[in-house]
Amino acid sequence: MCLGVPMQVINVSDETIIAEIDGVRCEASLLMLSEPVTVGAYVLVHAGFAIARIDADEAEETLRLMREAFGGEGSA
């Protein structure tokens, strides 16, 4: 029920998007997002609604902090 899934936006219309993960596509409402989304962006989809945009800069920063925590280099 609280199962939100990060998905990539592949089509945007007025109030809905089509989002995809691992080849699975679904429609999601944009009624819960105040900022516009564009094709290629990543969003969290929960119960048929996009509930948050995934911020690429913050995502990179999190990975950087993780590696810093143990002094690792890692890849990605």
Partner: protein
């Protein structure tokens, strides 16, 4: 996929595990860290994270599965509504097999009741528009992540002038339950891994009162293996530094303010109310009910029923599992009479339940 795979990178997870080992080594007392999100419960079990943790750190599951904390009486109400052939019940899939006092929605459906699984509350509104001769009732169960989607559906039904769409609500809000559990000396919670998607809606600031009043460290944590390990590490560091604060590990999706559009939807359609939680009893202001203006969509008011006193299944210890008092394996029914095919309690039914997680991924 991007934003998923890189956070499951084994080298990254092992690196964080090594950092945890180092930093937890000189902790004065062991830590009991509670996750209150069904997806965290499943992710911790699926990734086998407990086996990577030092012995000073114990993870316990709290009431993070919305289906599991829904009282039997709610199910009984839904089952009674399903018995009327005019009613068309719509629900997310996880409620179907949860036992009420005498039956489940799935059994009712097998006996001819019209119970349909929907992907979104908006699908239920569309069904109401297509079936003006039926009463379409959506089972509104879920935390702050789900409740705004139901609010949006109600507004849409209002806009379309539908008079045959109803919601049987049992929505709950998480911080009040976390406050209650943190104040229980028996549980000794030393930190919370705060729920990710709930926090995407309510924002990191929502945990500030919890931190101030209960002095319990809070870290909003994501769902991938490295997210969880980093969230645990941040909690350990707060203890080492004798700090108590809210931190957001899941920064790529959660902000301090949260999703204000979703908060507006919640505020417009719902108001706080006292709510019964299975295992925790009634918690003040921990539920959401429809505001008077939207009362015509409220199934509990518009379609009242007299129901017998709900009956909890004999021997079921879901209540203690839900509050972290016992592990699923400590319940005498676990794995014997209570299995996913023949569940006795909701914690074994739901895809987010603690018992289902242990059954599926084993005891670590």
């Amino acid at each position: 996929m991007r934003f998923q795979e890189e956070y499951c990178d084994p080298d990254l997870v092992q690196g964080l595990a090594a950092a945890l080992d180092r930093e937890a080594a000189d902790l004065i007392a062991p830590l009991r860290l509670m996750e209150v999100c069904g997806t965290h419960t499943m992710a911790i079990a699926r990734f086998g994270l407990k086996s990577l943790l030092p012995s000073q750190i114990r993870l316990v599951s709290g009431p993070g599965c919305p289906v599991c904390v829904t009282p039997v009486g709610y199910l009984d109400h839904a089952l009674a509504l399903a018995a009327d052939p005019v009613n068309l019940l719509t629900t997310f899939g996880d409620l179907l097999r949860v036992p009420g006092s005498v039956s489940t929605l799935m059994e009712q459906r097998a006996c001819g009741a019209d119970v349909r699984v929907v992907w979104s509350a908006l699908d239920a509104v569309a069904l109401a528009a297509r079936h003006p001769d039926r009463r379409v009732i959506f089972l509104g169960v879920g935390f702050e992540t789900t409740a705004p989607t139901v609010a949006a559906a109600i507004l849409q039904a209002e806009q379309q002038g539908l008079d045959n769409f109803f919601v049987l609500t049992s929505h709950k809000t998480m911080p009040q339950a976390m406050m209650l559990l943190a104040s229980d000396p028996q549980l000794q919670i030393s930190g919370y891994l705060c729920p990710a998607h709930v926090s995407a809606v309510i924002g990191g600031n929502a945990y500030l009162p919890l931190v101030e009043r209960q002095q319990v460290p809070c870290v909003v944590t994501g769902f991938e293996a490295a997210d969880l390990m980093q969230g645990i590490l941040l909690l350990v560091r707060q203890h080492r530094e004798k700090q108590v604060r809210v931190e957001i590990q899941y920064r790529r999706a959660v902000t301090w303010q949260g999703n204000q559009r979703a908060q507006q939807l919640l505020e417009q359609v719902f108001e706080p109310c006292d709510a019964p939680w299975r295992g925790l009893g009634v918690i003040a202001d921990s539920g959401l009910r429809l505001r008077g203006r939207y009362g015509r969509f409220d199934a509990a008011c518009q379609l009242p029923l007299t129901l017998p006193t709900p009956r909890e299944p004999d021997g079921c210890r879901c209540g203690q599992v839900l509050t972290g008092r016992i592990d699923p394996k400590d319940c005498p029914l676990f794995g014997t009479v209570c299995q996913p095919e023949t569940p006795v309690g909701a914690c074994m039914v739901s895809s987010e339940g603690s018992c289902a997680a242990v059954w599926r991924y084993g005891i670590q």
